[in-house]
C-alpha cells in the first residue's frame, strides 16, 4: 500500500463515521412533538459535507494523478464541517441539549481530524511531486 | 611496542565435572609491536577470542596485566578504560556488530562521536572506497549482507586510526577476493601507519600477510614464529 493512500483511507473512515453518526449516535435533539429545531438543519448540512468528503476520499483512492488536488479540495470542505454547528447554523439555546453536548464537539473533532488528515495528504503528495 | 601482556590468564568456574574451575586461557606473556601484523591461529575453543578480549580491554583477566603504551588497562576505572578503548583501540568482533538504528556511515563514525573526537570523515570515505562499501554509506544495516556488515565493521575500526587494531575472524563471511582486500588493507595499515594489527583466524589464507604467527591450543600459545 502506498503511503500517499493512507490519508485517503482515514478520510473515508472519518466520513463514514460522520455520515452514520449524524443519523444515529451523534444526532441532534429530538423534539417530542416532532418539530425541528435549528440543530436539525445543522445536522443536514453536516450530513452533506460528510458525503462530499467521503466521495472525495473515494476519488483520492481511485484516481492517482489527481490526488494532490483532491486533498486540497477536501480542506475547505472540512473547514465548512467545523464551522457548521454553532457558527454558520445556530444550535439550540441550551448547552445541556444534545446538539451542543454531543453533536457539536464530536463533529468539530471529526472534521478537524479530517482536516489534519487532508493536510498530511497534501504534504505527502506535494513532496512526492517535487 | 604497542601492547604487552604479562602472565594473563582467564579462569572460569565449571558447574559440573571434577575440578571446580578450568582455564580458558592459561598464563600467557605476549608483546605485539607497532608496525606489524600478528596473526593468532588455532582450533576453535582454543581460547583465541578470550585472549583477544583480554588484550583489547573487553574482558578482565583473572590474573596478569595488559599494558597499552605504558597504561595498565585494568587498573583504569571504567570511564577511562572506555575512553581509551574508543580512542586508541579498534576492535572488529565476531558476528554482527552494527547498530541497527544508524546508517552505515553513522555506524562508522560512532566511536569518534562517542569520544567527542572530530569525525574522521575523510579516513572513513577512503577505507569505505577501498573495501567497497562506499555505495552503502546511507543504507541501514538491515539491508546489508553478512559480508558487507563485516567490511563495515572493519572500516569502523580502521577509520578511527587506532594504535592497535584487533580483529576476530575478520574474513569469516568474506569470499576470497574480499578476504585478500581486507587482509592487504590490514597489512598496509600496519606497515604504512606504523600501527599494530592483531588478527585471530583459523583460515590459512591470513598467514601470508602476517609478520608474526602465534598458534594456540588448549588455552596456551604453543608456538610463535615469523613466517618463512
Amino acid at each position: 500500500m502506498k503511503k500517499q493512500m493512507i490519508p485517503a483511507i482515514i478520510l473515508l473512515i472519518l466520513s463514514v463515521v460522520i455520515i452514520l453518526g449524524s443519523q444515529t449516535f451523534l444526532s441532534p435533539c429530538v423534539h417530542e412533538d416532532g418539530s425541528f429545531g435549528p440543530c436539525h438543519w445543522a445536522r443536514q448540512t453536516l450530513l452533506g459535507s460528510g458525503c462530499v468528503l467521503g466521495i472525495m476520499a473515494a476519488f483520492a483512492l481511485c484516481v492517482e494523478h489527481a490526488r494532490l488536488g483532491i486533498y486540497l479540495g477536501a480542506l475547505p470542505v472540512c473547514a465548512l464541517g467545523i464551522l457548521t454547528p454553532g457558527t454558520l447554523i445556530d444550535l439550540c439555546r441550551m448547552s445541556t441539549m444534545r446538539c451542543r453536548m454531543v453533536m457539536q464537539p464530536a463533529m468539530i473533532i471529526l472534521f478537524s481530524a479530517a482536516l489534519l488528515c487532508a493536510l498530511i495528504g497534501v504534504l505527502l503528495n506535494a513532496r512526492k511531486r517535487s | 611496542m604497542a601492547v604487552k601482556a604479562e602472565n594473563i590468564s582467564k579462569r572460569y568456574f565449571r558447574k559440573t565435572g571434577g575440578a571446580n574451575y578450568f582455564y580458558a586461557v592459561k598464563p600467557i606473556t605476549l608483546t605485539i609491536e607497532a608496525g606489524e601484523v600478528a596473526v593468532l591461529t588455532g582450533r576453535s575453543g582454543s581460547g583465541k577470542t578470550t585472549l583477544l578480549n583480554m588484550l583489547s580491554g573487553l574482558l578482565k583477566p583473572t590474573e596478569g596485566r595488559v599494558w597499552i603504551d605504558g597504561a595498565d588497562l585494568y587498573s583504569l576505572d571504567d570511564r577511562a578504560l572506555s575512553r581509551l578503548r574508543g580512542e586508541r583501540i579498534g576492535v572488529v568482533p565476531q558476528g554482527r556488530s552494527a547498530i541497527d538504528t544508524l546508517t552505515v556511515l553513522e555506524n562508522i563514525l560512532l566511536p569518534a562521536k562517542l569520544c567527542g573526537k572530530p569525525l574522521p570523515i575523510e579516513a572513513a570515505s577512503q577505507w569505505m572506497e577501498r573495501l567497497g562499501v562506499a555505495p552503502l554509506r546511507d543504507a541501514r544495516p538491515a539491508a546489508l549482507s553478512g559480508g558487507e556488515l563485516r567490511r563495515m565493521a572493519i572500516v569502523r575500526a580502521l577509520a578511527q586510526s587506532p594504535d592497535i587494531l584487533f580483529a576476530d575472524e575478520p574474513t569469516g563471511d568474506l569470499d576470497d577476493e574480499n578476504t585478500n582486500l581486507v587482509l592487504s588493507a590490514f597489512r598496509d595499515y600496519a606497515h604504512e601507519q606504523k600501527k599494530a594489527v592483531f588478527v585471530v583466524t583459523h583460515e590459512n589464507s591470513a598467514l601470508q600477510y602476517a609478520d608474526m604467527i602465534y598458534r594456540m591450543d588448549g588455552g596456551q600459545i604453543i608456538s610463535s614464529a615469523e613466517p618463512k
Binding site: 435533539c29 441550551m94 | 577470542t49 573487553l58 578503548r85 556488530s97 538504528t101 544508524l102 569520544c115
Partner: protein
Amino acid sequence: MTMKHFSLSLKNLIRKPGRTGTLALLTAFLALAVFGGSVVVLSLRSGLNSLEARLGADIILVPSEAQSKVSFQNMFLQGTTGAFYMDASALDKALEVEGVEKAAPQTFLASLKADCCSIKIQVIGIDPELDFTVQPWIARSLTRELGDMDVAVGCKVEADVGEIIRIYEQRCKVVARLEATGTGLDTAVYCNMDTMNALLAAAEEKGVSHKIESGDSVISAVYVKVKDGCDIDAVNNRLNGHIRKVTAVRTRSMITGVSDSLAGVSRTVTILIVSVWALAFFILLLAFVLIIRERAREFAVLRLVGASRGMLGRMVLLESALCGLLGGLMGVGLAALLLFPFAQLIESALKLPYLMPDAGRVLLLAAGTVLLAVTVAALSSVIAAYRLSRIDPGTALREGN
C-alpha cells in the same frame, strides 16, 4: 557529552517507531488516567464548593406537596424545571420565627418550550431587596439591579446580552450572562418579582395555572438565614411547626448528599488511577527488561566502540524518559480532547455539580502529569539500566552470535 547521547537516543527512538510507540502508548494510558481522573475530581469538588456558595442559606422552605422537595433538589443539581407554589404569607410567618435572621422569597416558573428556547426553561424570580443568595452572584456580571422585564441568564443559556427572548409572549431583555456555577442554576433565567408577576399573569392567560386556592400572591421557596449562635435544627423545627403546608429543609442535607456522591466518585477515580498506575509500571518494568535483553548485543557493541557503563545507563534512562514525555503528552492530549469538548456530557452523566477548574490550574495539572509520566518511565527502566551496565561486552558479543 550529553548532546551526542541525545542524538543517538533520538535516532534509536525515531528509527524504531514500533518499540517507541508501544512504550509511549503504555505511559499514555497512565497519563490519561491520572490527568482525566484528576480533572473530573477537581471539577466535582469545585462544583460542590460552588453549590455551597449558591445555596447560601441554612434552611429552605418549600411547599409540603409530595414532589416539591425532590423537584427543588433536581432543579438545583440537574437543572430540571420545577414549579410549585405556596402563599406569599409564608415569608412573613418565617420572619416571625425566633432565630431567623433573614428570609428571602423566590418564585419559579417553567417556560413553555415553544416560546423561546425550544426547551422548557426555568425562570426564577427574586426580590432584590431581600435576596441574599443570588444577588451577589448576579452582581459579578451586572453592576446595576435587574429592572422590569430584564433577565439575567445562566451561562448555559445560549443568549447574548442585549438580545430579546420571549417568555409566554412577553419580551424580556437579556442584561447579563452569569458566571458558571456548575449547578442546575446555570440553565435558569433570573428576573425580579415584578417581572415574575407579569410572567405569571401571562402564563395564566396561556392556561398554565399556578394559582393556589387561598390567595393570589404566590412564591415557591423561602431562603432562610439563621442568626449566629442559634441551633439550626431547632429553628428548622420551629419553622415546620409555625407555618402550615410548608416543609423546612436544611440545605446541609442537600450538600451532604452531593458530597457523599462526590466521595464515591473520588474513590472510584482513585482506585482507577492507582490500578492503572500499578499495571502500567509493572508492564513498563517488564518491557524494559525484555527490551534490554533483546538489545544486549547492541549495547555490547557500544561498549566496544568506547561507551562507558555510565554512558549506556544514561542513554537508557534518557530514551525511557523521552518515551515517557511522548506518552505523557499523548495521554494528556487525548484526555483533553475528551474532557473539554464533552464536559457538558460528563456533567449530565454524573448528575452532580461539575465546575471545570480554570485554565491555569488545568495547565499546571497537565504539566504535573507529563512530569509524572516521565518519572515513571525513567524509574521503570532503572533496573534494566543497572543490569545493562553489568553486561560484559566480550561475553555478550559471543552469545549474540
